[in-house]
């Protein structure tokens, strides 16, 4: 009986475990967000355009069903006008961090933000 109790002492998923797991899960909030350097626009998997993020400009790109207007300003990107029916790409708003994307499915347009060619580890 005594042995059994000592077994239970270390049985996984006691209350303290959850506290510890929660504490270390909070590291999720500290994952660094890397600001992007370039924006890559891919149209229908064929045409690719790359623009630097630090120059403000407005792009007009022809997609599958119409023209899409993309604004680059202050290191951020958004879609300001599109001919697609649901306007989901416009509702995505601004993106600026590496890895973020805006997709316009009817126009077959993918806008993604990329960092430098090398990252901090190889640097």
């Amino acid at each position: 009986m005594l042995k059994l109790q000592s077994n239970n002492r270390y049985r996984p998923l006691k209350i303290g475990d959850f506290v510890i797991i929660l504490i270390f899960l909070s590291a999720l909030f500290f994952i660094p967000r890397v600001e992007g350097k370039k924006v890559r626009v891919i149209v229908d998997k064929e045409k690719e355009f790359i623009y630097p993020l630090n120059e403000d400009r407005i792009l007009k790109i022809e997609g599958k069903i119409g023209i899409i207007m993309i604004e680059i300003k202050d290191g951020r990107v958004r879609v300001i006008e599109s001919t697609c029916p649901l306007k989901i790409c416009m509702k995505m708003g601004w993106i600026k961090n590496k890895g973020e994307q805006i997709v316009c499915v009817p126009n077959r347009i993918l806008i993604c933000i990329e960092g430098e060619q090398f990252d901090a580890i190889t640097e």
């Binding site: 996984p12 006691k14 797991i21 899960l25």
Partner: protein, 169 residues
């Protein structure tokens, strides 16, 4: 327990720990610096069955003998291994002694996390001169959470098996 018995038991555990350490070093890994820490299973068992001093001994022996076997004695990675082991065994010892609400899983997670954090701090301070690797800390902490849980559950499973065997014998 008799002294000879104790020495024999600790030796067996040391051998098991070193074997796991060496076997694990043979597994190819995509990113350097990420290990399961399977050797921690046996260090945990020593900690529970014998005590803190013995666990520390097994941990240091693991780093020294294991590094000799895989040919990394007195390299930076040996320094990282031994310092991480000492800190994590100490933290786990405190957790076993005072952590009433902790199971083996929680203790193992604490050990894995302290091992990881010590290593990242040492790399930052000793080899790079400033704390420039701190951006690596969050992903490593999350990974250690997973590996620590796996190690802890395995250690608990082995612990119950071993205890039953000892009772029968």
């Amino acid at each position: 327990m008799q002294l000879q018995n104790r020495i024999a038991h600790i030796s067996v555990f040391t051998a098991a720990t070193v074997s796991l350490f060496v076997i694990e070093s043979l597994i190819p890994r995509p990113v350097p610096g990420i290990r399961f820490g399977l050797a921690n299973i046996f260090i945990l068992l020593v900690l529970l069955n014998y005590g803190y001093k013995e666990a520390l001994l097994v941990g240091i022996l693991k780093s020294v003998i294991g590094s000799i076997v895989i040919g990394r004695l007195f390299t930076p990675s040996f320094l990282l291994s031994i310092s991480g082991t000492i800190v994590s065994v100490t933290i786990m010892g405190i957790a076993v002694r005072y952590g009433r609400g902790l199971s083996l899983m929680g203790i193992s997670i604490l050990g894995a996390e302290s091992h990881t954090i010590t290593q990242v701090l040492i790399i930052s301070v000793l080899f790079l001169g400033k704390a420039s690797l701190s951006f690596l800390l969050p992903p490593f902490v999350l990974l250690s959470l997973v590996t620590g849980s796996i190690t802890g559950i395995s250690a608990y499973w082995l612990y119950t098996k071993l205890e039953r065997k000892v009772e029968v014998a």
